[in-house]
């Protein structure tokens, strides 16, 4: 299996709401010499994992995508399915984990699939972009073109990359994977208590006030710790954080951006960075900028 080869599962939000996240991510992959290929076909992961034990049909979309990855992966010599959106990561990995652990569920799913002449051999490994970047920290270090002086970054993980702990990419109470990436990028980061606190997730649709309260707490916590940049990897967290930020009367001078936007900027890959973010970063880095 080639270490640099990944299949890529986009998901709805990356394709519609977080375009710059995906585009900058691919710019970064290219700079890191990673071969990332989008699935020819993919199905909605379901956006949330069905928690009830009798609820297998909800996993079907995810299983279809896993099967597709199994098939395409064979040609590409990889079994790794990369996701940007941690919701997709969470659902796909949990479904994968469930099928591996529970032969009864697997059999049940197979019964559905048999009608379509499909089968799943459990070979796919679902990985999140953070794990991949962590693995190639050496390359990141080499690819950095701008110095991040003047930036103080608050990492924000949210829930879905970390919980439940069986599928999480790091210690759910005290993750450090993003911090390691920041170190490779050469930017300073802050310690604040809310990096794994829930942003409010989909509750923003049902109880907007609650979601805004949670997200505001995160932003203020990061700001109080001295951050001027709040970095996320999730389109839903990004939305809720922006919702909270925009609802604030006294807006703290802190910018909410995707990790790959920051990375692309520091690697000098500006073409897909949204102009407001570009100018924010430019203004903070100021004259100490380019060194490469």
């Amino acid at each position: 299996m080639a270490e640099e080869n990944y299949l890529y599962f986009p998901g709805c939000s990356v394709k519609r709401d977080a375009r710059s996240y995906e585009k900058t991510a691919f710019d970064v992959f290219e700079a890191l010499k990673l071969n990332v290929k989008e699935l020819d076909r993919w199905w909605c992961c379901g956006a949330t994992f069905g928690l009830a034990v009798d609820d297998v049909a909800k996993h079907l979309g995810a299983v279809r995508s896993l099967i597709q990855a199994e098939i395409e992966g064979a040609g590409m010599k990889t079994n790794k399915l990369l996701t940007l959106c941690p919701m997709c990561f969470n659902v796909l990995k949990r479904v994968n984990y469930l099928l591996r652990r529970d032969p009864e569920k697997l059999e049940n799913i197979r019964r559905y699939l048999r009608d379509e002449n499909l089968d799943y051999n459990l070979s796919v490994e679902v990985v999140h972009v953070l794990e991949v970047l962590d693995r190639f920290r050496d390359r990141i270090k080499k690819a950095v073109k701008r110095r991040g002086d003047g930036l103080k970054v608050a990492p924000y993980y949210g829930c879905t990359p970390l919980r439940p702990k069986e599928i999480g990419i790091d210690n759910p109470e005290s993750p450090s994977i993003m911090e390691r990436i920041f170190e490779s990028l050469g930017v300073e980061y802050v310690r604040y208590p809310f990096k794994t606190e829930c942003c409010g997730a989909y509750v923003s649709v049902y109880n907007r006030k609650a979601a805004i309260a949670k997200s505001s707490m995160i932003i203020i916590g990061a700001f109080k710790a001295g951050a001027n940049l709040l970095v996320t990897v999730c389109p839903l967290c990004h939305y809720n954080l922006m919702l909270a930020y925009n609802s604030m009367k006294n807006k703290p001078p802190i910018k909410i951006i995707y990790l790959t936007e920051l990375m692309a900027y520091l690697m000098g890959l500006d073409r897909n960075i949204p102009p407001d973010i570009k100018s924010f970063l430019d203004s903070h880095i100021g004259s100490r900028g380019e060194n490469g």
């Binding site: 210690n171 109470e173 005290s174 208590p193 109080k224 710790a225």
Partner: protein
């Protein structure tokens, strides 16, 4: 022939126990008896409600006498519980215990097959049939006698190990006490006061340490570890690795010039990291042996200390020693450690300086401690006015320690009381799930702490601890009784981390004892044999067996010493004669068994294999190696195994 018992034809009695309903509710006992009667060699079978009772034992004794039984099979609970009970009954009727067997139809049958009465009964019948087949061919061998070495080894110099060592030494038994640290004293010496009497812990333990240090019957090896154990009950051979102290304890005058001169500063483990010490140091003023010691790992061999020592006590070239000793009994008392708080990052242990564990808090209370008894924030040394205690931190939790460590409720109450006595205007918040105060005077003590104004017990959990921009700790949790969330700004957070066994896996392997699923040393029976291990002559004492407080540790240490004394006061003990035996008719002297034996107990003599009966441990590993079937394990011969299998499958 023994006491007029005729062994020419098998006359076996089978005794099936109901164990109340423990067996009888699942296994059809009557049917087992009926089937047993049909087995070859069986002349008598009966059942009884409690075979282990006096009446039950009498049934067996009477049957042996009246029916002229020469073999007895008891189908009841496990041998580890009642082997001896029935062995003594059988012997009192004049029958050798080698013609008796107890098989479990409770642990091995009724308790695990309660879902299938029919098959459980069938299985019980097969178990009985196998036992009858085995006993039918058992021979009576003369016991093998071994000398007992009247000396004991105690591993661990904490309160349990010291107590056991002193009990034995005072009874006239020479004791070797092995301690890993440079001084004895264990965890107790790190404590401030003890609950519920609030006695000063150091004042309680130091006289005992001194007694150990100067007792003529105790040979103390500090900085030492047991690295190998061989032999058996009454005669163990142990190897001890003694690390170099590099300071001669006989010469050291405790002047401390060496430490002043030493340029290397490291974290002091005795204060659990709350202070620093030098690479040459005195662990604490009352250490036994009373001598400085060089920390081999951190010493740079600069030689400054050697230059200033007025009595030339320091020798930087001292090497480690391997000491070998022979002992008759071993007492394991290696105690406990605290669960690693870093596994609870949500509480900030190891992240924020002011989040500490309970032993660190003890060090803040002790007048001779790193803060001279002042209770302060570790981060900046400011007085700590508000302390939050989190009980059951990482305990009673399937993600961490699933068990309860038993003592935390009490020591947290004590620590809160000591805090309030030192900081009268302070506030102590105690998060608890249940308060467990099972012990003499414990509930009263808890009540006393509750009465103190400023001590607030909160029934609930802490979710998270973090440090705000002012360096204060913020504790968020829930009070389940009001259902309200709680947020407390605190100077210190104290985690009541659970007890984990301080028991090296290699030592367990050397001693061949077993451990429970959490790594605590396993006793033979939780109620009746709490200090014995499965290995004869090896006893356990203190928290290495399970969480317990000081008084229980001391009681258990004395119990272990008493058990060891029962062994060591004998001149010789009988070893079960169930060893390997060579049939010279069949042996062709090929020597394969010689190579197989892990104890070198088989030698070739005059072209035949011969088993050394003292060295043979009776494992039977040599048996399958013999191409002619000439070597057999006594009372578990190839023929008997064949008969056992036949019996198991003879049942229809």
């Amino acid at each position: 022939m023994l006491d007029g018992i005729d062994y020419s034809e098998p006359r076996i009695g089978v005794f099936v126990c109901h164990c109340g309903t423990n067996i009888a509710a699942v296994v059809d006992v009557k049917k087992v008896v009926e089937e047993a009667k049909k087995l070859p060699g069986v002349v008598h079978a009966e059942d009884y409600m409690y075979m282990c009772s006096g009446i039950g034992q009498q049934l067996i004794i009477n049957a042996i006498r009246e029916k002229k039984l020469n073999g007895v099979v008891v189908a009841a609970c496990t041998p580890s519980l009642h082997y001896e009970t029935f062995a003594r009954a059988v012997e009192s009727a004049g029958l050798s215990r080698q013609r008796y067997k107890i098989v479990s139809i409770r642990e091995y049958c009724s308790w695990v097959h309660f879902h299938d009465r029919k098959r459980a009964t069938e299985k019980a019948i097969r178990i009985v049939a196998a036992a009858v087949a085995e006993i039918r061919d058992n021979k009576v061998y003369e016991p093998i006698r071994r000398k007992v070495i009247k000396k004991a080894l105690v591993i661990g110099g904490g309160i349990a190990g010291m107590t056991a060592a002193l009990d034995l030494a005072n009874a006239g038994i020479p004791v070797i006490l092995v301690e890993k640290e440079p001084t004895i004293g264990g965890k107790m010496i790190q404590l401030s006061v003890t609950f519920p009497t609030l006695d000063c812990a150091q004042c309680t333990i130091t006289p005992r340490m001194a007694e150990v240090g100067k007792h003529p019957n105790i040979k103390l090896y500090t900085l030492s570890e047991v690295i190998d154990v061989s032999g058996h009950i009454g005669n163990f051979h142990v190897k001890i690795r003694k690390k170099p102290r590099m300071v001669d304890p006989e010469e050291c005058r405790l002047c401390g010039w060496c430490a002043n001169a030493c340029p290397v500063e490291v974290i002091n483990e005795f204060t659990r990291g709350l202070s620093k010490r030098k690479a040459i140091y005195l662990p604490f003023p009352q250490a036994v042996p009373a001598s400085f010691v060089i920390d081999e790992e951190h010493c740079t061999r600069c030689g400054m200390c050697v230059k200033v020592c007025p009595v030339n006590a320091i020798n930087l070239d001292e090497k480690e020693e391997i000491i070998e000793e022979d002992v008759g009994a071993i007492i394991l008392a290696t105690g406990y450690d605290l669960y690693d708080g870093r596994k609870l990052p949500e509480y900030g242990y190891g992240i924020y300086k002011n989040v500490i564990d309970s032993l660190q808090f003890e060090q803040l209370i002790v007048p001779s401690g790193p803060t001279k008894g002042r209770i302060v924030r570790i981060s900046d040394g400011k007085p700590a006015k508000r302390v939050v205690f989190i009980q059951c931190a990482g305990q009673r939790d399937v993600n961490h320690l699933p068990y309860c460590s038993k003592i935390c409720c009490m020591y947290v109450a004590k620590e809160a009381l000591m805090f309030k006595s030192k900081v009268p205007d302070g506030e102590a918040y105690i998060f608890y799930i249940d308060v467990r105060t099972a012990g003499k005077g414990y509930e009263e003590f808890y009540k006393k702490v509750q009465e103190i104004p400023g001590v607030k017990y909160i029934r609930g959990r802490v979710g998270k601890v973090w440090e705000d921009e002012n360096g204060d700790l913020i504790v968020t949790g829930i009070d389940t009784l009001t259902g309200e969330t709680v947020k407390i700004r605190a100077d210190l957070v104290v985690l009541a981390l659970g007890m984990i066994p301080n028991l090296d896996k290699r030592l367990v392997e050397k001693l061949k004892i077993s451990t429970d699923e959490y790594g605590f040393a396993q006793e033979v029976h939780p109620k009746l044999k709490p200090v014995e291990t499965e290995i004869g002559g090896v006893y356990i004492a203190g928290a290495v067996q399970g969480p317990k407080d000081i008084s229980e540790s001391v009681a258990q240490a004395s119990a272990a010493a008493s058990k060891a004394l029962q062994l060591l006061t004998k001149d010789e003990i009988e070893k079960e004669p169930l060893i390997a035996e060579v049939d010279r008719e069949r042996c062709d002297g090929c020597g394969l068994c010689v190579a197989t034996c892990p104890y070198s107990a088989i030698k070739l003599e005059d072209g035949y294999a011969r088993v050394d009966e003292i060295a043979c441990e009776g494992c039977g590993m040599c048996v399958p190696s013999c191409p002619t079937g000439a070597i057999n394990l006594r009372n578990m011969t190839n023929k008997q195994i064949h008969e056992i299998i036949k019996a198991v499958y003879g049942v229809r």
